[in-house]
């Protein structure tokens, strides 16, 4: 690239500015060249550093760091970030909020890898877009690697819309992204969900008086589909929070539907309300806040959460691996 400016590892962000570059890599060497100096520079400056990437990539970085790996918080994103909606509250802010306020925090976060399904992807790209609002004005740098060989061209194009700056493959310098448009991404992927089955295992209209019945119907049906133990408790909690939200905020009633799909129990709640806050359920809860934990719990315990909201109402669909 002839337009490369200064190397990103040497750039000096404004003290309180959020920095969110996408790093494109074509092979392991480019991956390590883009990530390991970023980690080492943070450590050298006394900055807290976390790396949340898929397990096999985590192993690469860990090996390259050697003994320094012990000073870095290492997380397998396939587990910690399985549900993209969990990554901001449960991974990124969980780490950043726990650090001293006077230090810039560095995180490598790779939420999108080649194995992500088409069902997961809209939630992944919305997550990437929402990071910008979630961290605005905070002294945090989140570097997001993208596999430029194995990811689809559309995914790579989206990364230019969700990141204000990009580091092209093979480059050490960051460029402003001319396609940056995170709100546009959130809106574009706020599309109707793929239709569920015509005859789901459960279809249960509910209102205030039937909230416990809806939950019992959901846990009964999910249990018969093979969900058990803690995961069945989680489904009970998720059903309660979603149906209660419908009654309190979503027009007073809704429909709960549940079915089996590719090794998952899928549980969906639809109502006439409209979700106006795209960060709902993505902010960590402070101990003393009164409400605001329902959708957060849904994000924290589900394997995937997809949402569609608009003038006709809101659908929240949740997945539980059986």
């Amino acid at each position: 690239m002839s337009t490369v400016t200064e190397p990103f590892t040497g750039s000096r962000p404004e003290p309180g500015a959020f920095v969110h570059p996408a790093l494109f890599y074509r092979d392991d060497d480019e991956y390590l060249a883009g990530t390991v100096p970023f980690v080492r520079e943070g450590l050298a400056g006394g900055e807290p550093v976390a790396v949340a990437v898929p397990g096999e990539r985590l192993a690469l970085i860990r090996d390259a760091l050697g003994a320094d790996a012990e000073r870095v918080r290492l997380l397998d994103m396939r587990e910690a970030g399985r549900n993209p909606g969990r990554i901001i509250p449960g991974v990124l802010r969980a780490f950043a909020d726990a650090q001293p306020a006077d230090r810039r925090v560095r995180i490598i976060g790779e939420p999108i890898w080649a194995g992500r399904s088409g069902t997961e992807y809209p939630a992944c790209v919305q997550h990437e877009a929402l990071i910008n609002d979630a961290f605005e004005g905070r002294a945090v740098t989140i570097l997001c690697p993208y596999d430029a060989v194995r990811l689809d061209a559309g995914v790579l194009a989206d990364a230019h819309a969700t990141h204000p700056v990009v580091i092209p493959a093979g480059s050490a310098g960051e460029l402003p992204s001319t396609a940056y448009d995170p709100a546009g991404v959130v809106a574009r992927y706020n599309a109707p969900l793929p239709p569920g089955p015509d005859a789901p295992v459960l279809s249960f209209p509910f209102a205030a008086g039937s909230l416990p019945d809806a939950r019992h119907a959901a846990t009964g049906a999910a249990g018969r589909l093979g969900l058990g133990g803690v995961r069945l408790d989680d489904l009970a909690l998720v059903t309660a929070e979603l149906t209660t939200n419908s009654v309190v905020h979503g027009g007073g009633a809704g429909v709960l539907r549940l079915w089996a799909e590719d090794g998952y129990v899928v549980c969906e709640v639809r109502d006439r309300g409209r979700l106006t806050d795209p960060l709902a359920g993505r902010r960590p809860a402070s101990r003393d806040q009164r409400g605001g934990r329902g959708l957060l719990l849904v994000n924290l315990v589900c394997d995937l959460v997809r949402t569609h909201t608009g003038q006709d109402g809101t659908t929240v669909r949740t997945w539980f691996a059986v």
């Binding site: 309660a240 209660t244 934990r293």
Partner: protein, 116 residues
């Protein structure tokens, strides 16, 4: 706890789906049923009344099958209002309540889950 079979006396709060009664022999209450949107007010009033004693407050939850997130929040609020050193002791809370407390109030020192 050995509360099974004892007659519940003088209910301090009742809503469809939840009964809260005094706990014989200990400061506190025994709850039975489910805690959700319809029963949260009953649960909240019962706990606010129960914490007005001098020592630890016991809540027998062996008869409670489900607590939602807001029901857990009410419990954490009540525990947070106890003077330092006093505890809210939960007896046999349902798994959903333990899960939510661990998720959102892991460091609340005033809540203790009893082994009995």
């Amino acid at each position: 706890m050995g509360t099974q079979g004892e007659a519940s006396s003088a209910a301090v709060g009742t809503a469809p789906g939840l009964t809260v009664s005094p706990l014989p022999g200990l400061d506190g209450v025994r709850a039975a049923g489910e805690i959700g949107l319809a029963t949260r007010g009953t649960w909240q009033r019962a706990l606010e009344q129960a914490v007005r004693v001098d020592g630890d407050v016991h809540v027998d939850m062996s008869g409670v099958s489900f607590v939602d997130v807001d029901g857990a929040r009410v419990l954490a609020d009540a525990a947070g209002r106890l003077p330092e050193g006093r505890r809210l002791v939960l007896h046999r809370p349902p798994a959903t309540l333990r899960r939510v407390l661990e998720m959102f109030w892991p460091d609340q020192p005033a809540i203790e889950v009893s082994k009995s």
